[in-house]
Point group: C3
Chain length 146, copies 3
């Protein structure tokens, strides 16, 4: 049964990581920054190459992202996860991403925002008894102004 038990544990881990990423999106779009920080390991690394973003550590991620999105209204959706369990406490995954970010109108009252599309490439680790995002890299396919 250890074979089946292992497979069951892997499936449970896959579902837990999907729910982890769901909290990442939901807490981000509702700007619940303190809870949002808990989805990351303390040593998380975040990279968004096209924006030259490289952040290390949970505090840096929360501080920078919450500042960058202050005053915005955002919608982020993830799709089509490919989660691979690589060890008892480690995994990696890919997600398709859609985001919609709108800033306050400009001085002429025009809408300012973007629709973006891309993929996340991520690593996950169990820390303090829960799966968390240990590394995340966002590569966009395209960005359209609204």
């Amino acid at each position: 049964m250890s074979g089946n038990g292992d497979l069951l544990q892997q499936l449970i881990a896959v579902e837990e990581i999907k729910q982890l990423k769901a909290r990442y999106f939901r807490l981000l779009d509702t700007k619940r920054w303190e809870e949002w920080g808990q989805v990351f390991t303390t040593d998380v690394r975040m990279e968004v190459p096209e924006a030259a973003v490289e952040l290390d550590g949970r505090a840096a991620v929360v501080d920078n992202v919450s500042a960058a999105l202050a005053g915005t209204q955002t919608v982020h959706h993830g799709h089509m996860p490919e989660i691979e369990i690589t060890g008892p406490d480690t995994a990696r995954g890919t997600w398709a991403m859609y985001d919609f970010v709108e800033w306050p109108p400009d001085a002429d009252g025009n809408r300012v925002g973007l629709n973006g599309y891309g993929h996340y490439f991520e690593e996950y680790r169990v820390e303090d008894g829960a799966w968390r995002i240990a590394r995340t890299r966002l590569v966009r396919i395209r960005v359209d102004p609204i």
Copy 2:
């Protein structure tokens, strides 16, 4: 093995509830109202606070939603489920939501419709041998006219 057996049953329930919500969306967008009604318990409660919608019972939900969407073309997508099994026959869940609703053009031929974004907060119950939506509350993040 009862531990593993229970975990397996929970994973199966999570997958069944995901497919339940998939039918909710697919049958809604293809306006198959009678089949759509079957995704709900007979005593379902539906709330959409921003529209002051509070409906009780399957018949009221089907009658009101099918009337509200008569003549429209709709697309509803759910994302990022967080399903929690709370008992052998009960569960709750959260979903991100995107919808696109278009009514017939106005008298000047202009398009009339909306793009909406939000979250569903739901409860599920096994009734007549199948998981069904027992309570659903839709909270929008934003709505944009098209």
Copy 3:
């Protein structure tokens, strides 16, 4: 335990088919055509009734789709899978679909493209040790020019 073992194998197959479809989308949007071909059985049939598309065989699918999308930038997202395992090596499934296809601008510099919405109706089969798409039929709900 054979009951539980079978259920576990079915859940694993469902997850594998979800990841198969994730590769279908990711490799399509990044135009990695040779890898993309591997998501299909050699005898795959692809149908898009509204475009009068009927293609038989992996080579025909890869050749025609890669030619049709040459010069485009595309985003395809799948949602809300309903996967049913119908035998040890066979399954069928339904997916909601969103796509965004943009061609190079026209002679006047105007953007040319579409936003589409619909459903895939599919069959899957294990071939050469992996789940692959054996039949896929795309039925659109609506298409909007951009």
